[in-house]
């Protein structure tokens, strides 16, 4: 399935849930509303034509004004790939866990919580992970966070 066919299929079957974002010429990125995330993910995984059963990646993004969670999905059998994006408020962001769809999401969601402060609902194990156990200095991947001994490189 080519990207154009994938776009057509998603436009025909997921029109209510997925909004195509304009990101130029790359692989399609769709926006999903946070409250629909788990249902849409389950449908994408169980759809016979798509079968998005490979959870590749989940990355948080802090753009300065808002938080984003970007899910990269692929299919083991159908040779297709898609990105889903959930846009969240900058403060008190909350997102549902997709572990019931892909168990692989567990560690990625822990990381999202730990480094960006996005609370993951129904996760079950939001404990310190990459950072030290006694870490109390906030969420280091946020744009407004600088380490005390952080030296900015000179502008070229």
């Amino acid at each position: 399935m080519t990207f154009d066919e994938l776009k057509e299929y998603l436009a025909a079957n997921f029109a209510d849930d997925l909004t195509l974002l304009d990101t130029g010429r790359h692989e399609p990125v769709y926006e999903v509303k946070a409250e629909k995330l788990v249902t849409v993910c389950r449908r994408l995984r169980e759809d016979e034509t798509l079968k998005f059963d490979f959870f590749c990646n989940l990355g948080g993004v802090d753009t300065g004004e808002r938080m984003e969670a970007v899910y990269s999905l692929a299919s083991y059998s159908k040779k297709i790939r898609v990105d889903l994006k959930v846009i969240l408020p900058h403060e008190k962001a909350e997102i549902d866990s997709v572990q019931e769809v892909w168990p692989a999401a567990n560690w990625y969601e822990r990381e999202l919580w730990e480094l960006y402060g996005v609370h993951v609902k129904n996760h079950g194990n939001l404990t310190r992970f990459l950072l030290p156990d006694d870490w109390d200095q906030g969420f280091p991947m946020r744009k407004d966070w600088d380490a005390p001994d952080f030296i900015r490189m000179p502008e070229l």
Binding site: T23, G24, R25, H26, E27, V29, D53, F54, F55, C56, N57, G59, G60, V61, D62, T63, V70, S72, A74, Y76, K79, R81, D83, W102, P103, A104, N106, W107, R128, F129, L130, L131, P132, P140, M141, R152, M153, L156
Partner: protein
Amino acid sequence: MADLRTEEFTVNMGPHHPSTHGVCRLVLTLNGEKIIKIEPVIGYLHRALEKICENRTYAQCIPIMDRFEYVTAMSCNYLFSNAAEKLAGIEVPERAEYLRVIMLELNRIASHLIFYGVTAMDIGALTPFLYGLRERELIIDLFEMTCGQRLTYNYIRVGGVSRDIPAEFEPKCREAIKIIREKLIDYEGLLNENPIWLVRNKGIGVLPPELGIAYGVSGPVLRASGVKYDIRKDDPYSIYDRFDFQIPTRENGDCYDRYLLRLDEIKQSLNIVEQALDALPEGDIKAKVSPNFKPPAGEVYSRVENSRGELGVYIQSDGGKKPLRVKMRGGSYNQLQVLPHIGTNCLVADLVAIFASLDVILPEVDR
């Protein structure tokens, strides 16, 4: 004996255990010598590479990627360059693509040779370690004569490669291929039918394909469970669609199959290197790219087939000369996540074999 008191106890395996290939702590709950529960504790090697990348230009990020997965640093170099090229729409010259494929495949072989050595050493056989590192040295010498580095290459750059191969590269490379092909027969003779090796590996740590898929496992570990999934074929990047090679798979998904599969992959990679050397065209090795180039705002998730599964990077650009966000994804991350599921109900000694056969390296997990 009726009043014999038994209790479960907890043991730390690591963080400095020699068989954890880096600094990983496994908290084991044991009943006798049987493992009831495994809890991996990671983060000892967290160097905040993603945060560092946000403060650097795209060209400056590439040496950082070397430290992400240092056993196959070429893949990481390629991965980031490829993602940045997709973002900025840069065309790579033909010769550079061939050089990249040669380096990627040589690096895959070097990585599998390390696997061969350290896996056997974890289980108690020292000779394979010496064999594996001896042949790996031939490949490392090739890298050294090309880019001056033996581990962190910084060779594949945005737009091409940093320098052309020297004149003596091709004969030395062909010689190395010939030697490794011959030595592979020794390798197989040493372990394939070795009774100790069979007892320690056959039927140990079976990963059912459904479990692997649920936990996002990829690469040789998943192919040893019978799922034929290789990004070089299923989502081709660079010029892999021009080469004739097979994707080996195995059925049982145990430690032994994972070992056999990696030896099969070395043979396929040798074929690819040979084909690429035969077809290597003349021409430029680098497109003209400003060191401070600014890709347009956008985002890309790029992925390559590494010796440890899918290696991916997500880059978001806001139109500036530094990336807004770089998220790295390594195959080891998912393989370590699935370890508690395949490692329970086995013996502590078997856990060493399972951990080794998953070929996890920790810098890739912790970043």
